[in-house]
Symmetry: C2
């Protein structure tokens, strides 16, 4: 059954649930903001449902409720952030704040985080940055699910990365993506339904492309574009994991296999103050023209007009801000139970 919850109410509910696990009120609100925005965008796999797994991991000691997050500015535009094994979206928001401050001052700012955890969906950070006038490139590494091209052992994460450019006259353009052709969940669904999968999604355990969903579940996700996607996943790990001082490749601990151990994930947050490049009207006019040119492309199927990256999610956000956020009622009840009272 589905229920509709207003944004402010869900923000409070998620915050209080995190607070009840010992997270400081201000920190809980920051982390909740990322997850609620994820929910607003319709990215429900990375929405408030994650609160439950954070709570679970804090309980077993895999994540610290009261981390001592330290931001060290090693250059006017570079910060190293030690997440001290706090919840990922909190570390992410601290990185975003640090990069924002540096970019406002100098034009560009980059924050590198180590000792962090899964930081939730990426688009919320990109959106917050865009609303303040910053273009951004933001990424995180992840535990290993992808084999390098030509290999038959997972050594790379399906690292998420997002690129965004603000539009002072309308919606930003936000590309938020993982680097596999398909998510593991899609393969799991095919296996359950007894259906084959396209041979471009995954390999079997020997690194050979397969259409057998069960064989794929024992194998590896295939990156987009073959060696190009392998290269991109590797680059995200170099920036997010290696340069940040975090774990990288097979050094990353898997949340699902060893939830009691710190993941030591890494992130990078690069922000650019595009207001330095020209007046708001100049940028608004160009962004609107850019979107119009793409929207005006004759569609291959007249029923399916050409869309921009993030367009679906931003429309979803607007509608859900107006009409409330649609959620599974059982999830809301579980969050209410975690929050300890009816919020």
């Amino acid at each position: 059954m589905e229920v509709t919850v207003p944004e402010a109410k869900l923000q409070l509910l998620a915050s209080v649930a995190l607070e009840r696990m010992g997270i400081a009120a201000e920190d809980a609100a920051l982390a909740a903001r990322v997850l609620v925005l994820g929910e607003l965008f319709g990215i429900s796999t990375h929405g408030v449902g994650r609160v439950e797994s954070y709570v679970e991991r804090i309980r077993i000691g895999g994540i610290k409720a009261r981390p001592d997050i330290r931001v060290e500015r090693v250059a006017p535009t570079i910060a190293r952030v030690d997440g001290d094994n706090g919840v990922g979206p909190l570390v992410g928001m601290r990185c975003l704040e640090a990069a924002t401050a540096m970019a406002r001052e100098s034009g560009v700012g980059i924050a590198f985080a180590r000792n962090s955890n899964h930081f939730g969906p990426v688009a919320p950070y990109s959106y917050i940055a865009a609303e303040q006038g910053f273009a951004s490139i933001i990424g995180s590494n992840a535990s290993t699910t992808i084999a390098p091209t030509g290999g038959k052992e997972a050594r790379l994460g399906n690292s998420p990365v997002a690129f965004a450019v603000p539009n002072p006259g309308g919606s930003p353009i936000i590309l938020d993506m993982a680097l596999s052709v398909a998510a593991r969940a899609k393969i799991r669904n095919a296996a359950k339904a007894g259906l084959p999968i396209p041979d471009t999604w995954a390999t079997d355990k020997d690194g050979k492309p397969t259409t057998d969903a069960n064989a794929a579940l024992n194998g590896f996700l295939l990156p987009i574009g073959g060696h190009k996607g392998y290269g991109l996943a590797l680059i995200v790990d170099l920036f997010a994991g290696l340069l940040s001082g975090a774990a990288y490749l097979t050094h990353v601990n898997s949340w699902s296999e060893t939830p009691e151990l710190p993941g030591n994930l890494g992130h990078f947050f690069l922000l650019i103050d595009v207001g330095k490049l020209g007046p708001q009207e100049w940028l608004a006019e160009r962004m609107t023209d850019f979107a119009a040119i793409l929207h005006a492309t004759p569609p291959a199927d007249p029923a399916k007009p050409v869309r921009l990256p993030g367009e679906f999610e931003l429309n979803h956000l607007e509608r859900q801000r107006r009409e409330g956020i649609t959620l599974d009622s059982a999830l809301v009840e579980r969050l209410q139970a975690l929050a300890g009272r009816k919020q």
Copy 2:
């Protein structure tokens, strides 16, 4: 027939050929350096053969031999570069210099170029940056060959982009790629040979994936990873074309269709001084471990070990620096003719 030319000799030959078209000696040397490095990497489609097309375009007035390239620093870490319709690799090298200076000072630097032309291969810039201790993200837009996902008209270029991280203890990792699954040249070769192509390479003119190479030549290149690659091509154009003040999407003039008009291409050069993140030994150790983990992946085919992006090209560079650069003798003769004497 093939000949072998030492790097220094090829550098001189390419420089003098460009000088003879009226380009200032220092500028010609900079532009030649990019093309010679491309040749060293084995990227011969973007090597010294390009000198001929630059010469041709200068002759018909499509490119200025003596541009007044202006670098305007709009923030401590952001420069806007007006290429004044000079040859692309010259504008590119000026951007690289500007971004290097800012990154050395502040940690990060980004240069955005407008009024430029095809800037050659990307890897040489990434390599020069890496040799000086900078990680980089560098990209350019291009004239349109890709239809947006779901569209049936080319509105995006096959925009090249490169990401690189230096290794003070060995080779940098450089990922230099275009965003289509396959290059147009590969489809042309299949058409000539009367062979079908995989249905993932291109669409026909109606935007439907095709295995018919001739239909593909009348259609559009498919980006890697479907909508993900479409998104990436669009992001490169946003950074390189839109934010820089250059032309973007269908506003870019095609070199092949209107060679007499300025292309007004745009580029971006983002450099990060990774020396600020830790001592050289720290970075060298991590980069070497990172490469070792990937190289040690059990290969699907024992005859084909797992490689890193750019590895083939960097090995090629090392060998050709030692043994000389292998070139088509007819090309060398044409360059000698352009240079006006035996170099």
